[in-house]
């Protein structure tokens, strides 16, 4: 196993890209990452994507993207892990490079979600849940999160408004990210008055879907590096699984796969949670922010909302989260999301995060959640 560095990053804005196709988006982000790395060729392309088969009726995405990137005959295939597809692709690229089999790997996360009606997209997203035991009952993805959030409120005694700081923070940061889908700050009043989507989840608890792609070039850390900006190393890369269905979990309010993957990543990096400078977490729904913070050791069980209420999640505070808007404001192009998180971690570590740049950004963590928590990948990146 050899250490791995992130040499280049690229992304498109998240939005409704009416004039751009799935392949256009992947190509744009991939080429941007290669340009950023100063490379014209890669040996392997790993494409993180969840919905191309269902929404674009296009599979065999690896070959397609490699071809459109002009990288034939590079090895290429798609990596799927629902909403964690992006981080899963990064993780595969990391395994390829760290093992010594590949010297230059490109990980691309891409999703095209706005070509279809909302009913079709909702049905497609729901395939992340258990088709025979959740989906068949008319469950939606937001519905599953609502079930978890309602029980969480019941069990730990929080009020719905206690989750407002997560959304307010994400929107504040997204407002200064030109690639974010939502660039409007929100107030607590906006949050409490938002339209109910799936009780207790309202519109401002939920992240917006969107089209988008983000990419990174991974190389061995030993590769010569002669650029002025900071070199970013992958200090920890791990993923873990839990039951596919929420109802099969002994404790549906604990993200066990987040806990296990974070523990592995901490061990690889030789770090404690307290040494993480910032955290790009998977705030698809505000409840997921709380559960992720708890599972990764940043908050006690049932105490996740406290970090928001105490202001510790904001930029320049103890544990900034969603520094470029998170899923909530940057947007959640599902299979691309994990790659956006990693690209944003690299931006912070390099000092390229623009108006959202953190003063202290030496170690950053990203966590990408697939389904309602069945597959979770955690990465820790650091400045070399």
């Amino acid at each position: 196993m050899r250490p791995v560095a992130v040499l280049g990053i690229g992304q498109t804005a998240v939005g409704e890209h009416w004039e751009r196709s799935l392949r256009d988006l992947a190509t744009q982000a991939g080429l941007a990452a290669m340009r950023d790395a100063g490379l014209e060729h890669v040996q392997a392309v790993f494409v993180g994507n969840m919905l191309s088969g269902l929404l674009t009726r296009q599979e065999n995405l690896g070959a397609l993207v490699a071809d459109w990137l002009g990288q034939r005959p590079a090895e290429a295939f798609k990596v799927e892990a629902a909403c964690a597809s992006g981080a899963a692709a990064f993780r595969v690229a990391h395994m390829a490079v760290s093992s010594g089999e590949v010297d230059v790997a490109l990980a691309v996360g891409v999703e095209k979600m706005t070509d279809t009606t909302s009913g079709e997209t909702t049905a497609a997203l729901a395939t992340a849940s258990d088709a025979d035991y959740e989906l068949v009952h008319g469950v939606t993805f937001v519905g599953l999160n609502a079930l978890v959030m309602r029980r969480y409120l019941h069990e730990f005694g929080w009020k719905h408004t206690d989750f407002a700081p997560f959304s307010i923070n994400a929107h504040a940061n997204g407002a200064r990210n030109p690639n974010a889908r939502l660039q409007e700050p929100i107030s607590e009043r906006d949050y409490t008055r938002a339209r109910m989507v799936c009780d207790p989840i309202n519109l401002l608890d939920a992240s917006p879907i969107g089209d988008g792609a983000a990419a990174a070039v991974l190389v061995p850390a030993e590769r010569a590096y002669d650029r002025p900006r900071a070199r970013v190393l992958v200090a920890g890369s791990a993923s873990a699984t839990d039951t596919l269905a929420v109802h099969d979990r002994k404790d549906p309010l604990f993200l066990s796969a987040a806990h296990h993957s974070a523990r592995k990543a901490y061990a690889q990096a030789g770090l404690e949670p307290s040494q993480i400078d910032f955290f790009e977490l998977h705030d698809a729904f505000s409840i997921m922010s709380a559960l992720s913070l708890e599972a990764c050791g940043f908050a006690e069980r049932g105490q996740g909302p406290r970090l928001g209420l105490e202001g510790r999640i904001r930029l320049q505070q103890a544990l900034p989260i969603s520094t470029q808007g998170g899923l909530k404001a940057r947007g959640h192009p599902v299979g691309a999301t994990g790659m956006y998180q990693l690209v944003e971690v690299v931006q912070q570590l390099r000092g390229e995060a623009g108006p959202n740049q953190l003063d202290r950004a030496r170690v950053g963590m990203a966590q990408n959640i697939g389904g309602s928590g069945a597959m979770i990948a955690t990465h820790i990146l650091r400045v070399a």
């Binding site: 009913g119 049905a123 009952h137 549906p252």
Partner: protein, 133 residues
Amino acid sequence: MDIPRNWRLRTQRYALVGEECDHCHSKIFPPRDICPDCGLEAKAHYAFSGKGEIYSFTVVHDPPTGYEDQAPYAIALVKLEEGPIVTAQLTDVDSAQVAIGMPVEMVTRKLRAEGEEGVIHYGYKFRPTLARA
């Protein structure tokens, strides 16, 4: 066409038939090859009573394709009295009356029909336990 995949689950869907683990005696739903509690092989059929209580619930207003004609409908995590939690729709209830802890019982209802002319899929739902004089 979803006929075979629903057909093969008919026993568990219609009557909430799961398994009991021979090794640790856990009651298992849905039935599976490996006991989720002890990791050993499980295969003895076990018919659940259908009694349980609401562990959590919500109401779906924006349904996935194929469920539009039912919306809005309540879905719940139901904790069965034998232990497992299942996801299912609630029926015969006004959403405003649903609460965590509410006792419910299984009924077999239409889950979905494949259009006006296609096959009808049946399965378990839960309703508030019938009040009896």
